[in-house]
């Protein structure tokens, strides 16, 4: 009888501990705010372009893989046309210890860095290069691993705290349709709306 009570107590404690670890309401709210997956884009390297990747791909999950830095590069600012992700852009990163790392965007513009490949010591400096164009970020990244956390689509509620999405070209090109071989069509972000 006593053994059964003890077993129940231990089980209850274990369940409670697990529940406590997975119910951070602040983090859960951040995850929920991202909305559901787009119906035509499966989970994987092409999904959720422009969103703050490390909200899910961080230590608190729910994604299984973790990133030390991740984001999306668009072709133009999206001021006069749709945002279109751009492939083959080199993202050059340098951390506080002068350690450098480069990563290239996929066909929706997504890039990510696995901690096993590079785990930067913030702050981090960033530059992007594609074709003949190079852009250097005006300020450093202080600590935020998700580019999309600050680089949001500008709207009435965030224009004073977001520089807008990351883009390679300073002006939009309405003829730019992205990578035609990309398995995700169109390679424009789904569910990314101005705040």
């Amino acid at each position: 009888m006593a053994a059964r009570s003890l077993a129940s107590a231990v089980l209850l404690l274990a369940v409670g501990a697990v529940a406590a670890c997975t119910t951070d309401p602040v983090h859960q709210a951040e995850v929920d705010e991202l909305g559901p997956e787009a119906s035509n884009i499966p989970q994987g390297q092409y999904h959720r372009a422009g969103q703050p990747c490390v909200v899910c791909h961080g230590s608190e999950g729910p994604a299984k893989t973790q990133f030390s830095i991740a984001g999306t590069i668009f072709n133009g600012p999206g001021a006069s046309s749709s945002l279109v992700g751009v492939s083959g852009v080199t993202v050059s990163l340098e951390d506080d210890s002068q350690s450098r790392f480069q990563v290239t965007t996929n066909c929706v513009g997504n890039f990510w860095v696995n901690p096993s490949d590079w785990n930067p010591q913030f702050p981090v400096l960033v530059a992007i290069a594609g074709g003949a164009t190079t852009q250097t970020m005006q300020s450093h990244i202080g600590r935020e691993p998700s580019c999309g956390q600050c680089h949001q689509l500008q709207g009435a509620n965030n224009y004073f705290r977001s520089p807008g999405p990351i883009y390679l070209q300073r002006t939009d090109d309405p003829n730019f349709k992205g990578d035609p071989t990309c398995p995700v069509q169109p390679p424009t972000p789904v569910g990314l709306t101005p705040l």
Binding site: Q121, Q138, R143, Q154, Y159, F160, P163
Partner: protein, 187 residues
């Protein structure tokens, strides 16, 4: 005997609690809502970058905008030492207007310089006054202790003693801003 002791202890506890409650109410009722704490701060013009010849250079405000005020650090509404700037958080007035435009828009405005100055002074107003009046060393300020990592700082170590950022801040606190250091630190 033991019952008597318990009763006496309970009575003593009751009296102590009552006295504590009365003292607390008394302390609250003596609160003066009109009392002001005057704060002495280092020079505002040097903070925003007014050079000795009257021209405009890179002051402390521009330096901390770049070094501390990024959108993922102190360029956030919810953070202590909230900082505004051209490439970070923009000041929104009560009417909902943003005179400096969006992030990345117009250069840092006078209102934003003033807000940054108030943030810096408001961090430890009494201690800042002591420092300015020469009664406490600048190194006592959280403004230096945090970025030097002498106190826990989520953003880690931002500068070290003797570098341009340190010289910019400490020279301003001493009343003779080293604008060359501020310019170097803001790059």
């Amino acid at each position: 005997m033991s019952t008597l002791v318990t009763r006496a202890a309970l009575l003593a506890l009751f009296c102590a609690t009552t006295a504590g409650a009365i003292a607390t109410v008394g302390a609250c009722s003596s609160f003066d809502p009109n009392r002001l704490t005057e704060v002495a701060g280092p020079d505002y013009n040097q903070f925003k970058g007014v050079l000795p010849d009257g021209g405009l250079g890179t002051g402390v405000s521009a330096m901390i905008e770049r070094r501390c005020g990024t959108l993922d650090c102190h360029g956030q509404v919810g953070r202590p030492l909230r900082l505004y700037g051209q490439f970070g958080l923009r000041f929104v007035d009560d009417a909902g207007n943003t005179p400096g435009g969006p992030t990345g828009g117009q250069p840092t405005t006078e209102t934003e310089h003033q807000a940054n100055y108030q943030s810096v002074l408001g961090l430890q107003p009494e201690l800042m006054t002591e420092v300015v009046q020469g009664n406490a060393p600048p190194g006592a300020l959280m403004l230096l202790r945090k970025p030097l990592q002498l106190e826990r700082h989520a953003g880690g170590a931002v500068f070290v003693e003797g570098d341009v950022t340190y010289l910019c801040l400490t020279s301003w606190l001493a009343g003779q801003t080293d604008f060359t250091s501020c310019q170097g630190a803001a790059q």
